[in-house]
Symmetry: C2
Subunit: 106 residues, 2 copies
DNA sequence: TATAATACTATACAACACATAGTATGAAAT
DNA sequence: ATTTCATACTATGTGTTGTATAGTATTATA
């Protein structure tokens, strides 16, 4: 999948993955494996951005002598998801336009 | 519409707008007005990129004493559109995942 | 005579996906 | 016993792209 097309979706994808239950970096990547390929170097900056914009908060839990950061979605994060769903409708319009022009071209 | 979500779509949108007939900058913006908001500062760099990647070629036509650049889509440009349509299917998977998680959360 | 529409170029910026590399622990495999 | 793998996170740097802003220049309209 072309890189640019993912933009804006990955962030919301991460948020959505936290709706069921709190989770941490490594596990988020695994839980999203069937949906979209996302690497560490992509995920962790996303987590920091989402936290900075109050869409996520986190707490640390000790695990094997080390701290594991559990992320939890906030109300603002849930609003962010709804905005995305609306924006995606507009993107669907663009897609439909392109698909229509292609059909006309045949 | 959030900026990031547009990425990768605008370019293909411009290509698709040239399937019916050759066109030039100003007219492309107008013909896309109902589909997506695209400004001059967005369109002209896109046109240059598409030309650099051989997805478009152009020819100049004199109009009122000035040259007007008419753009014409190439076979490579048409292939690019088809790639986009496929990639968009993957993006739909992401969208469906997010929508599903939201439904589960209610 | 000023404004709007037409038509394009140039420069600079911020966001984001991603590569690469580094740090550190415990478990499994050879 | 030592390497490898899975886990878990941080830091730095890069390229693409949408967009703001500004500049240039012509013709038509108010």
């Amino acid at each position: 999948m072309e890189v640019q097309l993912k933009r804006g979706s990955l962030e919301v994808c991460v948020l959505a993955s936290l709706l069921r239950e709190d989770s941490y970096g490594y596990k988020i990547i695994q839980s999203l494996q069937n949906v979209v390929e996302i690497s560490e170097s992509t995920l962790y900056p996303i987590l920091r951005r989402l936290e900075a914009s109050d869409c996520l908060k986190f707490y640390s839990v000790e695990h094997n002598g080390r701290l594991r950061k559990f992320y939890s979605i906030t109300d603002k994060g849930k609003d962010r998801i709804k905005e995305y769903l609306q924006d995606f409708q507009e993107l669907m319009n663009i897609f439909n336009y392109i698909a229509k022009e292609v059909r006309n071209d045949d």
